[in-house]
């Protein structure tokens, strides 16, 4: 049996008195694309952010490639270099050019030479179709271009897996396609991915597993084609009726 890329067991997370995650169990296998859907406030982002410890779990265990990231002894920065993350708001560094955005972590964390970092950065920009934008500042790019740069920035650290938190929700409708296209391509290359999304088409076409969350628990999970076409739980049915 291979180790799961991400293995979450009995995960709880509270903000003060507000319990947001109420016992989550699930796993992502290497190469799998897992899509997470659910109503606003159900805890999707919190779950994703717990996986790279941007949020600290209240209790439970999270294994990333077999390493317990809730263990205080674990070197979090090292684990994080193996987990790329893409945010809804892109979060590019506005004071740096596109190329610098892609190089800064390579240089400071991976200690790559300038030449090597630039080489890797250019290869990834090529991949997201923005090779000619390397000296632009983020403010001069469209939302879709910024998100593609953000993906290239994460990829430049050679991560084993990628977390996406509603990567297309802040985009104008006509720019969504470009970003989804790159994510599809990544999936086809065998990248392990965990994607919080409202794009049911993407989940159906690319996802290996669909997870429906509501009220801090996983209500239903399974093959996206099955869950989307024939949901078992009332809450899943009600949610899908609203968004489809």
């Amino acid at each position: 049996m291979t180790t799961a890329a991400i293995h979450v067991s009995d995960l709880h997370k509270s903000f003060g008195k507000n319990e947001v995650l109420k016992g989550i169990d699930f796993h992502v296998d290497p190469g799998q694309v897992v899509c997470v859907i659910g109503p606003s406030g159900s805890g999707k982002s919190t779950l994703l952010r717990c996986v790279n410890r941007l949020e600290e779990p209240s209790s439970g265990q999270i294994l990333v490639e077999g390493i317990d990231i809730t263990d205080p002894e674990t070197d979090l920065d090292d684990v994080r270099t193996r987990i790329g993350m893409v945010f809804q708001q892109f979060n590019l560094f506005p004071h740096m050019t596109v190329l610098q955005n892609l190089c800064i972590a390579q240089r400071t964390v991976k200690r790559r030479s300038k030449k090597q970092a630039i080489e890797i950065a250019r290869a990834n920009l090529e991949k997201v179709g923005l090779a000619e934008k390397e000296s632009a500042y983020p403010a001069h790019l469209s939302g879709g271009q910024q998100q593609r740069v953000a993906i290239a920035r994460a990829l430049s650290m050679d991560p084993d897996m990628m977390l996406f938190d509603e990567p297309t929700s802040a985009l104008d409708p006509e720019l969504v396609g470009d970003v989804l296209e790159i994510m599809k391509q990544l999936a086809a290359e065998g990248m392990t991915m965990m994607v919080v999304t409202h794009e049911m088409g993407f989940a159906r076409e690319v996802g290996d597993k669909l997870v429906f969350m509501d009220g801090g628990v996983i209500v239903e999970e399974g093959d996206p084609r099955v869950v989307l076409a024939d949901p078992k739980h009332e809450r899943t049915k009600a949610f899908l009726a609203k968004v489809l």
């Binding site: 920065d77 590019l92 560094f93 964390v109």
Partner: protein, 263 residues
């Protein structure tokens, strides 16, 4: 009468009052006396020492106090944002103390009390000690500005850096601090102008001739030289201060406007 005509009449009246006051003042003042007091020698003397010694030292003290004050302020701001309660406490106490005291009191402490009490003399004699006082005060004021700047950087910036595996120090140095500084350039420039003017407080503690800043050199000329006994050197100093500070305050106004437009 039309409303616009009324308004023009009222404005005309106000201008007439203003003109009358100016004329009366001009007639009441003994211009020869003013001239002898403020413009002796047609402002021709003193410039060399005022500029080569005074302005030069004012510039040096301002730049040293600003640079060291900024470093101190960064330390205090980071302490104030620290998880460690004791650090937050110390920073807060420091900032409150030195913002609560008149700068002159701090300067006098550093120049006279501290060297005796602690048997320690800052480099540069009394002038150096005074500059240390300015650093302590400037650090306290700029700490609050810097803290606000650091907190104004969106949380997502640190999260993005950390998610790439960057540690807290690298995140701070490469991502947070450069953006914070951009935000606070206008208020920092303001602090710089305040500091230029505060260096004149150093004239109180006395300094060797070559170390005197502009106000101190000016005071020498009140009692010695060709314009002794007149306020001529004060006029000259005022002009020199304005030549330095006015462009800077205009620059701040311009920077603030540009930042607002960028939003």
């Amino acid at each position: 009468m039309k409303r616009s005509t009324k308004r023009r009449l009222r404005q005309g009246g106000l201008y007439a009052v203003l003109a009358a006051i100016v004329v009366l003042l001009a007639l009441a003042v003994d211009w020869a006396n003013v001239r002898a007091n403020f413009w002796a020698d047609g402002l021709g003397s003193n410039w060399h020492d005022l500029i080569v010694t005074g302005v030069k030292n004012t510039a040096i003290y301002t730049i040293i106090a600003f640079a060291l004050g900024l470093a101190l302020a960064l330390l205090l701001a980071l302490m104030k944002l620290s998880d460690v309660v004791a650090y937050r406490w110390i920073a807060t106490a420091y900032i409150e103390l030195f913002r609560g005291l008149p700068a002159l009191i701090t300067i006098l402490f550093m120049a006279f009390a501290v060297p005796i009490a602690f048997q320690w003399r800052p480099p540069g004699g009394t002038a150096g000690a005074g500059v240390v006082g300015l650093v302590l005060v400037a650090g306290a004021y700029m700490a609050e500005t810097l803290r606000a700047g650091l907190q104004a950087v969106p949380k997502g910036q640190a999260e993005a850096a950390r998610s790439l595996g960057m540690g807290p120090a690298h995140t701070l140095i490469h991502i947070i601090i450069p953006q914070a500084f951009r935000i606070i350039i206008p208020p920092l420039t303001n602090e710089f102008v305040l500091l230029i003017k505060d260096t004149s407080l150093l004239s109180i503690v006395g300094a060797a001739v070559g170390q005197r800043e502009l106000t101190n050199v000016t005071r020498d000329f009140l009692s010695s030289g060709d314009t002794a006994g007149t306020a001529t050197s004060l006029m000259q100093a005022a002009l020199l201060y304005l030549i330095i500070t006015l462009p800077l305050t205009r620059l701040v106004a311009w920077l603030e406007k540009r930042q607002q437009r960028a939003r």
